[in-house]
């Protein structure tokens, strides 16, 4: 059992997502930063149904009432297992009674805390990923207790430690392929989109909004399917990049699609960060 002493700023449980009910308007959800999620699963291999905590800005303080192992990937948070500082991408063993505190973020925005085992929470529409109101929870709450089935065979087994370049999230350039509506915008606007530096105005699990001075005249497009990574251009000139909890359909121009790596890079950037787009030739 894992007990939430304090929940942090915004901590959710995510598995690989809800991939079967988009036809009813249900978002895919799942981890924002898929690269870090995959890395956590590589370091502590598990079933697809195994889920992780996605922590944002300030992580949770957890009382671990079992023997198992964990790993943290993604953004660098100031974290401690009892009094021992915790490094990213390194597998730690713990025993019942220990306290894991995932503190404040130091670089990036979101980290993934994976335990070796399975949370016993119900799957709703084939997924454990939090998405309100499909799931009752928006985020984890203080005092909650999550039943957890440890799959650790030997907590003293060899510790894996992977070194990954620290500045992976600081890259400003986002690589993208032309989206379905790239052909509809003028060469002038294309040039501006590929040369300007944009600021992240706001962000949440649905999407990233960038400020821009650009405009377009496409007010009444018919809706099309939207997936995470699609860069939308609104008539008001805003650029919205769809992320994990994005709406299933949308009527804005779909000008670009980020590469998977660039999407994972983007979702580690807080408000105020600068980004620029570059076409990716494959």
């Amino acid at each position: 059992m894992i007990e939430v002493i304090s929940s942090g700023y915004f901590t959710t449980i995510q598995d690989s997502g809800r991939k079967t009910h988009r036809h009813l308007g249900v978002p895919i959800s799942g981890p924002m930063d898929l690269n870090s999620f995959y890395l956590a699963n590589l370091l502590l291999p598990g079933l697809d149904s195994d889920s992780v905590f996605e922590c944002t800005l300030i992580g949770p303080k957890l009382k671990l009432n079992c023997n198992s192992r964990f790993v943290i990937t993604g953004a660098k948070f100031d974290s401690y297992l009892d009094n021992e500082p915790v490094e990213n991408n390194k597998v730690y063993s713990f025993r019942a009674g220990q306290i894991l505190k995932v503190g404040r973020v130091k670089a990036g925005l979101r980290c993934y805390l994976k335990f070796e085992g399975t949370f016993k929470i119900p799957k709703i529409l084939n997924s454990k990923s939090f998405f309100y109101p499909i799931t009752k929870s928006i985020s984890i709450k203080d005092g909650e207790k999550y039943e957890f089935i440890s799959k650790t065979q030997d907590i003293n087994s060899k510790i894996i430690n992977l070194k990954i370049s620290e500045n992976a999230f600081s890259k400003k350039t986002l690589f993208a392929r032309p989206g379905p509506d790239w052909g509809l915008i003028t060469v002038e606007i294309k040039k501006q989109i590929l040369s300007e530096i944009f600021f992240i105005k706001s962000q949440n699990r649905m999407g990233y909004r960038l400020s821009s001075e650009l405009k377009n005249d496409f007010f009444n497009l018919s809706s099309k399917v939207v997936i995470p990574g699609i860069v939308q251009f609104t008539p008001g000139g805003e650029i919205i990049i769809a992320t994990a909890d994005c709406q299933v359909t949308g009527g804005y121009l779909q000008i670009l699609i980020l590469t998977d790596d660039s999407l994972s890079n983007l979702v580690q950037k807080p408000e105020g960060s600068e980004v620029k787009f570059r076409l990716f030739d494959n």
């Binding site: 988009r22 009813l24 308007g25 499909i134 399917v225």
Partner: protein
């Protein structure tokens, strides 16, 4: 025959294609047939396009084969859709943008709603929110542009007009559509077990009810004793 154009790969397992000049029956038939294909997790149809979510990446040629085979196996029965009566309540206690539109003129508001009740709608697709259905079939004189400044809260069950579409809000939500009335029955019930009350391409006629009956229907539905009127 269908004119398949502009295939677009959103990623290796997500393909959107446009269907221009496609007869309605063929569009629906293709949608229903593709849905049954074992290589496809799900199909999302919007106004003129369809998106296939594949289990795993496959060659483009094979995708074309799947679509062509599906076209050839469209059966007449595939596009047989139901007509369902959905209750709608225009009680004063519900949000009403039509009354605002006519500056409080009750007669004009009533006329608008009476015309609305004569329309037969088709559920085109789900989007925006889980269980938010987009209905076509609104006659053009009732089309209302979306609000420039969205309302901060539109109540659950609100029937609203956004351009040429009619939608029903499945939950309280900010929104830019024009509220006309309220429906006590959800299109999709995500509570406990998933129950889809109105499927894509089903047809819907709204039937006016009074507040008293609204409350009764809502309770009947919750107790699982509500009978849908299906033609």
């Amino acid at each position: 025959m269908l004119n398949l154009t502009e295939f677009y790969y959103l990623n290796s397992t997500t393909i959107t294609f446009n269907l221009s000049d496609c007869k309605r029956d063929n569009f629906i038939g293709l949608f229903q047939t593709l849905k049954k294909n074992s290589k496809i997790i799900e199909v999302v149809a919007t106004k003129n396009s369809m998106t296939l979510f594949l289990k795993e990446a496959i060659e483009h040629g094979e995708i074309l084969d799947i679509i062509n085979e599906s076209i050839n196996s469209i059966k007449k029965n595939d596009n047989k859709s139901k007509t369902i009566h959905l209750p709608i309540c225009f009680d004063d206690s519900f949000q009403d943008d039509i009354l605002k539109l006519y500056d409080g003129d009750l007669k004009l508001t009533r006329k608008f709603k009476e015309t609305f009740l004569k329309n037969k709608f088709t559920l085109e697709y789900y989007g925006f929110l889980p269980g938010f259905g987009y209905f076509s079939g609104l006659e053009s004189k009732l089309h209302l542009p979306r609000k420039k400044i969205p309302s901060s809260k539109i109540g659950k069950g609100t029937v609203a007009i956004g351009g040429e579409y009619v939608g029903i809000y499945p939950q309280d939500s900010p929104g830019g559509w024009n509220c006309i009335g309220n429906c006590p029955i959800p299109l999709v019930d995500f509570d406990s077990n998933l129950k889809i009350n109105i499927n894509v391409f089903d047809q819907v006629i709204f039937e006016e009810i009074e507040l008293e009956n609204y409350k009764k229907i809502k309770l009947d539905y919750e107790l699982d004793v509500y009978d849908f009127k299906i033609l």
